[in-house]
Symmetry: C2
Subunit: 247 residues, 2 copies
Amino acid sequence: MTERTPTEAARDIPEATVARLPVYLRALTSLAESGTPTCSSEELASAAGVNSAKLRKDLSYLGSYGTRGVGYDVEYLRYQIAREIGVTHDWPVVIVGIGNLGHALANFSGFRSRGFRVVALLDADPGRHREQVAGIDVRPFSDLASIVEEQGVAIGVISTPAHAAQDVADAMVAAGISSILNFAPQVLAVPEGVDVRKVDLSIELQILAYHQQRKSSSAAGQEPVALDGVGDAGGLGDLDGRVEAPA
Amino acid sequence: MTERTPTEAARDIPEATVARLPVYLRALTSLAESGTPTCSSEELASAAGVNSAKLRKDLSYLGSYGTRGVGYDVEYLRYQIAREIGVTHDWPVVIVGIGNLGHALANFSGFRSRGFRVVALLDADPGRHREQVAGIDVRPFSDLASIVEEQGVAIGVISTPAHAAQDVADAMVAAGISSILNFAPQVLAVPEGVDVRKVDLSIELQILAYHQQRKSSSAAGQEPVALDGVGDAGGLGDLDGRVEAPA
DNA sequence: TAGATTGTTAATCGATTAACAATC
DNA sequence: TAGATTGTTAATCGATTAACAATC
């Protein structure tokens, strides 16, 4: 809880709201492209996939940008949100780990169009240093520090295998990066003040599987297949107390 | 809100807990691989990147799988969590949209190793139907329904461009899929009972940018700025002073 | 037994939601 | 003015956390 000066105060946007602002931004961009000059909280909420009470509450943390009885000016609100998020200017980004996923990320147009500029692709494997990906040279990982300094990079993306991720994170932090997007399935330890967000594909699928399992009353899928080695972890007591009551 | 029979009752695991179970599972797998037979809540929590109170509270929703004074049996707890999530058996999965990201997903080993089996890759572009990706034929999108039926697919992954995503989702739902992992930057409308999780790369970066902006005193990603140098955050009305309510 | 650690309680914190007064 | 819609309030719900009694 850092103290704020009165001038910039009033500024404590809840995390849940911060996470939705980019969704609103996208919805507004879409409305703007279709030529809609104005929208109600109901319309915008629906385009963003939330309810209107939540939308209005969220927007209220930014200020009063609507007009009662009328709604919101699409362009105006869009700009205000973009400014709040910080995407009114360019953010240079480095991507470390240029395997399949790194390739996809480097080519991802959604970054560029939202103010994120990929300034370097790094990989520890010298075999990849001859490649170009998305028109950008793949360079040695050891170039990280100089690139970060020269280009003022604050955001790094990790798309290496899990075993390399912590080392990469350490190097990023040492180089001055303080925001990391981590795609490696690995918990990262970072110092206070460094933000890490993780995107974990297999975790997302597992969450879906959990709910799916409950929907299909355990029926759906196939037959239970033993998890390597773990199969009889519980032996008899296996489903002991819990006795599922499945099919 | 489905009614539960008494035998399988007691089963209402909070969403926040469900989302962490896969993290615990991974940490336990890692401990198991390193030959650790037993661990305390403190150790496991640290490996999973949460505090131990939260871990114990989470595990308490599953049952009492630990031993006071001792800790948890790694293999046993691992099996219990795997069973709870539903990854003790195989989940057939289809991926629709085999561009850069679809390629990466098809090749992602983390799926396979966690019980997700990619049974088909689909793309609407006939130009891609000759390809093989990760050893799997790319087939026409129109094959979706028959594949879902034949293979009992319950989970679908969408990695198409945004404009195609809703149509793909509709087709998936019509075919009988009721869990969708959506990578397209598009809000999906689906009927009650269908679960959608979204992974949105540019939203993640925007959330990082928001916090980064506040860390680096609002200035564009320029100055590296000391990590704890947040004290000065805001400079001097730097952000055109947050002078809200601009009429 | 003495030491260790779980499982649970209760307090706190943060997020969601419905309702409505303010006001365009 | 009358109708519409915001911004805010207050109630509710869910998640986190510290503390500790239970118990191995």
